[in-house]
Symmetry: C2
Subunit: 142 residues, 2 copies
């Protein structure tokens, strides 16, 4: 079994569900996200995948990331207008953006809080997506 195939079961499944093909590029891109879950940008994913698939192009990385987002395997995360970051955590979660290091931390969200958040919406407002982002400074010692 090839290294990058370790995580590809869900990928193969979801791609098949969507009538899409399972390509090496898609597997390596997805694997890069799963292997180092530090919310990399497309450029960072590109750099990581290139070590294993030297011929891959940046456009393909963008294509693959978009495909993974469409398949609901990955979330695209945006802070202000910084480059989009990608996150394979499928649980409902918020993001804490540490202004000191630039790192992004996932904050799991209890269903109860999600329900309370939805409850602030007026009647008729139905949210498909809820995004919750914190920004702040973490104590240096961690």
């Amino acid at each position: 079994m090839s290294t990058h195939a370790i995580h590809s079961d869900a990928l193969a499944q979801k791609l098949a569900d969507s009538g899409l093909r399972n390509t090496p590029q898609r597997e390596f891109v997805y694997d890069a996200l799963l292997t180092k879950r530090d919310h990399p940008t497309a450029d960072e994913v590109y750099a990581r995948v290139k070590t294993q698939l030297p011929g891959i192009s940046l456009a393909t990385v963008y294509n693959c990331l978009e495909t993974l987002v469409q398949c609901d395997l990955v979330r695209a995360v945006n802070f202000e207008r910084a480059p989009t970051r990608y996150c394979p955590n499928l649980h409902p979660h918020a993001h804490f953006h540490d202004e000191t290091t630039g790192a992004t931390h996932d904050i799991e969200l209890p269903a109860s809080l999600l329900a309370e958040i939805k409850a602030v919406l007026p009647p008729g407002y139905n949210a498909d997506v809820i995004e919750l982002t914190f920004r702040g400074k973490l104590p240096a010692t961690r």
Copy 2:
């Protein structure tokens, strides 16, 4: 009193507090945001202000908006990687982004909910900014 000066009291105050000058460009840009609170982009603000201040440049609109954000008179609002939008609502509020019309609606946030949201953060995580965004479709009939 000139039209655009109607709303400029808070502006003059905040600018003075920050040691900045009160210019016609800043007044018109701020007034444009207050007059039509539809979360315009910089380009849209530019178009609106130009009708009253034909010589203003887009760079200046960007500068003024940035200044207003620095002065805490205006919030910059981002959805995905769409152009930044600007919002003069200073109350704690979330944004509902209507995918049908593209319109953005403010959702006021009770202090109690804000407190509960902050409570999901692990110890040591202190958030300076909390951003909550909903995306969904509103019933067409409104």
